[in-house]
């Protein structure tokens, strides 16, 4: 399945979710922030799972996503989520910084492997 299709489905599955009417305006903003948090967490989870996946073409066998690229994602996500936890209303800016950092530091292979997931976060966050 193409990563672009995955990205679209992920984005649509969350972007169309409206806050419950039971929430206050502050609660609705937090609901929206939580959706983006889930998308960011999924990006990190995907990176970690891709790092666990071994491929042997070309030999020798190696991780589908290199440790260096995985660390870039993990570190950026840690900083981003810590910021969002401290200032939930600033989720959009924190997410933008997080994604810019990841995109700037990944090598070509990492960008290819994670392109769909990064785009899904951008779409869900409205960036």
């Amino acid at each position: 399945m193409k990563l672009s299709v995955l990205a679209c489905v992920l984005a649509l599955s969350l972007s169309c979710s409206h806050p419950p009417v039971s929430l206050s305006p502050a609660g609705a903003r937090l609901y929206q922030a939580n959706e983006v948090v889930v998308a960011i967490g999924t990006l990190q989870h995907a990176a970690i799972e891709l790092n666990k996946t071994q491929v042997c073409n070309p030999p020798p066998c190696h991780a589908l996503l290199a440790d260096a690229n995985t660390r870039i994602v993990v570190d950026a996500v840690a900083d981003g989520l810590t910021t969002i936890k401290a200032t939930p209303d600033g989720w959009k800016a924190a997410t933008s910084v997080l994604l810019d950092r990841i995109t700037a530091r990944l090598d070509a292979a990492g960008k290819t492997e994670l392109a769909g997931y990064v785009q899904a976060v951008k779409t869900i966050a409205g960036i």
């Binding site: 399945m1 990563l3 989870h45 970690i48 840690a78």
Partner: protein
């Protein structure tokens, strides 16, 4: 990209947020409150931070 990973991603991301609401409604017959959304928000962040920390601990030279 393995089919198993794709399936896991679909199963994980898609229903998460709406599942919060559905479970709450099933349990209480009511929509979630601000406090419950706050708790979910914090729980999610803490879980993702823990997952990242676990990876970092397992890959000190990564």
């Amino acid at each position: 990209m393995t089919p198993e990973l794709l399936t896991a991603l679909f199963n994980t991301v898609g229903p998460i947020v709406r599942d919060i609401i559905a479970k709450h409604q099933a349990a209480t017959g009511q929509l979630p409150t601000d406090a419950e959304i706050q708790a979910t928000f914090t729980k999610n962040i803490d879980e993702y931070l823990a997952e990242g920390a676990a990876w970092s601990s397992a890959h000190p030279n990564g």
